[in-house]
């Protein structure tokens, strides 16, 4: 049925294209998110949109869905000009988006959710006074579910009681009921079990036969190769290539995603790997396969992986923020699992990936945030001296070149990069031996990134960190150890001594960074099955 497969050329002809975006540009402040991106998808075609985090996929799709206004570019839908000013307008025009986090009202029934926002009114006076026609609502909902081949879902069931896969179906049914012709699925398999993924793919084929244009966004290359007719790759806000899926390999797609060579962002000092400092054995946070790793003094250990692979859960379990089922964490002579307070006391600190909600108390001052784990004052452990707090904060503001008006400034007023430096300064102020960093450079500008890389490098080589007690007297400081999680693989490759990949809840073996390539990391993280080069044993020392 799907004979209208689009030609692989980027110069997509208007004929046969359900929608087309051309030359789309969008900048947020100084950062350019999209720099002249083209995308066209034909009726009855599944087009995969792939790219690494920050490549511009989400921005492009939120422009298509009317949630973001482009700075420049032309969009057409069915050959007519299309410029939605709100998600509602986009939906009315026939463009529906299914986000990773479903947007359903859990307490309402399936049919109420399907009709949400477009509730059918009763005819006549009743309708005019806002009375909803539940019969029409029920019929529409049933029809939409039937179209999906899922009449088994009861339209009266509260959505909150359905399984994640069924909830997703309800959301797709809602899109169909509003007459959508373009359907965007953003990481639709992230919350699905394996069997449900297969069913979803069948459903996508079914929708395809009904002539709906589908944009499929995923990190998982294997999914892309299974489900899509065509793929478009974005990299750094630009088109990086496209092709017909059946005529390419996972390998080639990854090459397009990775593209560029490393910039010289990562200064590397001398590294002397010392004794083991942190040993994790069979640690099993909720829903993860037990993981083990060893971190040495003077070492940077990277955990690569995609969002949702379980990396953050592993770190949270390690640091005592979440409960673990079993396992052991050893830091020097101290044995855990233990609560965060114990880890701070024994010289381990963590940087949260969620800067604004967990990493920092944004309503408090810079000084309060930096010194929260180690509030110093006259009587140890009881009184706090605000002037000492301010003085310490001032030191770190200067040392890390944080752009702020002073130590008492509220953190929420600062830029992301400066906020991240404050969160990092907390670990420096506490003078921990082991720094557990979860996505330390997410969402910050390149300049701040480079500064943070430099700092991390200095810490492990024993040059950075706490100032000597006697000023003007140079003293060698103990080398620190860093455990770092990142979705941005170039930085891991450049920074780390060893890297392990986490994929779908399982932490793979650690190998020296020199044995990895970005390509290999992406493949491994995406669950690809291309053989690794240098698959040596015993890398986990």
């Amino acid at each position: 049925m799907v004979e209208t497969v689009a030609p692989p050329s980027r110069r997509f002809g208007a004929a046969g294209a359900q929608f087309e975006m051309r030359g789309v540009r969008k900048a947020f402040g100084g950062t350019v998110a999209l720099d002249g991106v083209d995308l066209a998808v034909g009726s009855g075609e599944v087009c995969a949109l792939v790219g690494q985090n920050g490549a511009g996929k989400s921005t492009l799709m939120s422009i298509l869905a009317g949630a973001t206004m482009p700075d420049a570019g032309v969009m057409t839908l069915d050959g007519a000009r299309y410029a939605p000013r709100s998600p509602r307008e986009a939906r009315t025009a026939g463009v529906a988006m299914i986000y990773q986090d479903l947007s359903l009202a859990p307490h309402l029934s399936v049919m109420e959710n399907i009709a949400l926002g477009v509730e059918p009114k009763r005819p006549g006076v009743l309708g005019a006074s806002g009375i909803v026609d539940r019969d029409v609502m029920r019929r529409t909902a049933r029809a939409a579910l039937e179209q999906l081949g899922h009449s088994d879902i009861s339209v009266d069931a509260p959505v909150g009681q359905l399984a994640p896969a069924a909830q997703q179906l309800v959301e797709i049914a809602r899109a169909l009921a509003s007459g959508c012709r373009v359907l965007v699925l953003d990481e639709p398999t992230s919350s699905l079990a394996h069997a449900d993924v297969r069913k979803l793919f069948e459903l996508i084929r079914r929708l395809q036969r009904q002539g709906i244009a589908i944009v499929y966004i995923s990190h998982f290359i294997e999914e892309v190769t299974q489900v899509s007719d065509r793929f478009v790759v974005l990299r750094d806000g630009r088109n990086a290539g496209e092709g017909i899926t059946s005529q390419t390999t996972a390998d080639r797609i990854v090459t397009m995603m990775v593209g560029r060579t490393l910039e010289d962002l990562y200064p590397r000092g001398r590294r002397l790997i010392g004794d083991p400092l942190l040993e994790v054995e069979g640690l099993a946070p909720d829903r993860l396969v037990p993981a083990s790793l060893t971190l040495h003094r003077g070492e940077i250990f990277g955990i690569a992986g995609l969002l949702g692979a379980g990396r953050t859960r592993l770190l949270r379990g390690l640091f005592g923020l979440d409960a673990v089922r079993s396992g052991e964490v050893k830091l020097g002579v101290y044995k855990g699992p233990a609560a965060p307070s114990a880890w701070w006391n024994h010289g381990m600190g963590m940087l949260s990936e969620d800067r604004t909600h967990e990493g920092l108390a944004t309503n408090l001052s810079i000084a309060d945030n930096m010194t929260m784990t180690r509030l110093e004052g006259p009587a140890r452990g009881f009184f706090v001296s605000p002037s000492r707090q301010r003085e310490r904060a001032r030191h770190w503001i200067e040392r890390l070149q944080i752009r702020a008006s002073g130590p008492m400034q509220q953190v929420s007023r600062l830029s992301g990069g400066n906020q991240q430096k404050i969160a990092l300064a907390r670990l420096l102020h506490h003078d921990v031996d082991v720094l557990v960093l979860d996505e330390p450079t997410r969402g910050i500008d390149v300049a701040s990134k480079a500064e943070i890389y430099k700092l991390i490098g200095e810490l492990v080589s024993g040059e950075g960190g706490h100032p000597p007690v006697v000023s003007g007297f140079s003293r060698t400081r103990p080398q620190k150890a860093v455990l770092i999680v990142s979705s941005y693989f170039p930085e891991l490759l450049a920074l780390c001594d060893r890297i392990a990949v986490m994929s779908r809840g399982r932490l793979g073996p650690a190998r020296p960074a020199s044995e990895w390539t970005e390509h290999a990391l992406v493949l491994e993280a995406s669950g690809g099955s291309v053989p690794r080069r240098d698959a040596q044993r015993g890398a986990e020392s």
């Binding site: 965060p340 006391n345 309060d368 009881f382 706090v384 007023r413």
Partner: protein, 313 residues
């Protein structure tokens, strides 16, 4: 930031005082009248000091009114049993602390929001107080406890009734705790972002239980002062007092979403409410006018605060 805010509340206090000074005349500021106002404010103030800490930590305690009533009953019962006045007062404060401990343990143990837990314990403690008093007002023998808030002209206290000195001492203590101790800084951290506090190794549960216990003890002391004023143990007294206490904290710049609040602000907030109460009644305005004015002030004080933080962002 906090200083700026305190200045705003103090300016509000001065404005309200000035307004009534103009309406009523200079006798509004006579020493006797000022002392009257201070004595009236004392009870709300003590309970509001505890509430300030709770609200800074992002919580709320609706049970204070009931704890005050329970405390008057416990004081009266102990005095009737022949206890020394000091023991009676200590017993009442301990009863308040136990109520607070119960709040804290329930909130952290059941992981139910403080609003609901303390709404429940508000009724529970009120019922307990009524049961303990057999649903009657309890007469108690006259002791020095009854003179805690007596006017200086009766010869009790130096410069101020000595009950007020207790309140002032506690206010200083709470102010120091909030600004200069680890516990106090941890309360701000918890109220501002509980997840951040946990990440930073703050023992969140322990702090919460402690702060509700302290707030309970303060409410217990407020009950002792209430007993001193009434000289009976009355299980129906201070009905709805929690709202006045919360209002004092909120007018004083406290935020119900946590992380904000000062002792100076709270006392000024309580002062504003007393000024309106006494000013209105001395100007001959009926009770309903007072209520309308107080309500309006609560709404505008909070709206003004939001507006200010929005434009400075």
């Amino acid at each position: 930031m906090t200083r700026f805010q305190d200045a705003g509340v103090l300016a509000g206090l001065a404005l309200v005082a000035l307004l009534f000074g103009i309406l009523i005349g200079p006798q509004f500021f006579s020493p006797a009248n000022l002392e009257l106002m201070a004595r009236q404010t004392a009870i709300v103030c003590v309970a509001a000091l505890g509430m300030t800490m709770v609200i800074v930590a992002g919580g709320i305690d609706l049970s204070v009114g009931s704890v005050i009533a329970l405390s008057t009953v416990v004081t009266a019962q102990l005095l009737r049993g022949g206890s020394w006045p000091l023991v009676a007062a200590a017993g009442a404060i301990a009863a308040g602390a136990v109520c607070g401990l119960m709040n804290g343990v329930l909130i952290t143990g059941l992981r139910v929001v403080p609003f609901i837990i303390t709404l429940g314990t508000m009724l529970l403690i009120r019922g307990g107080a009524k049961g303990l008093a057999d649903e009657r007002r309890l007469e108690a023998p006259f002791t020095w406890l009854n003179s805690m808030l007596r006017t200086v002209r009766d010869g009790s206290g130096v410069l101020l009734p000595w009950g007020l000195w207790v309140v002032i001492a506690l206010a200083v203590l709470v102010a120091i705790t909030l600004q200069f101790t680890r516990f106090g800084r941890h309360l701000f951290a918890i109220g501002s972002s509980e997840r951040t506090a946990r990440l930073c190794g703050v023992r969140v549960e322990r702090c919460k239980i402690a702060v509700y216990t302290i707030a309970g003890a303060f409410a217990g002391l407020a009950g002792v002062l209430e007993f001193s004023r009434l000289s009976v143990g009355d299980p129906t007294v201070a009905n709805g007092a929690e709202l006045g206490v919360i209002a004092a904290v909120i007018i004083g710049g406290g935020s119900l979403s946590g992380g904000k609040g000062t002792v100076v602000g709270t006392i000024a907030g309580a002062g504003i409410m007393t000024l309106i109460q006494i000013g209105c009644s001395q100007h001959g305005l009926p009770n309903w006018v007072q209520e309308i004015v107080t309500g309006t002030i609560i709404v505008f004080a909070v709206a003004l605060d939001h507006f200010r933080s929005r434009i400075s962002r």
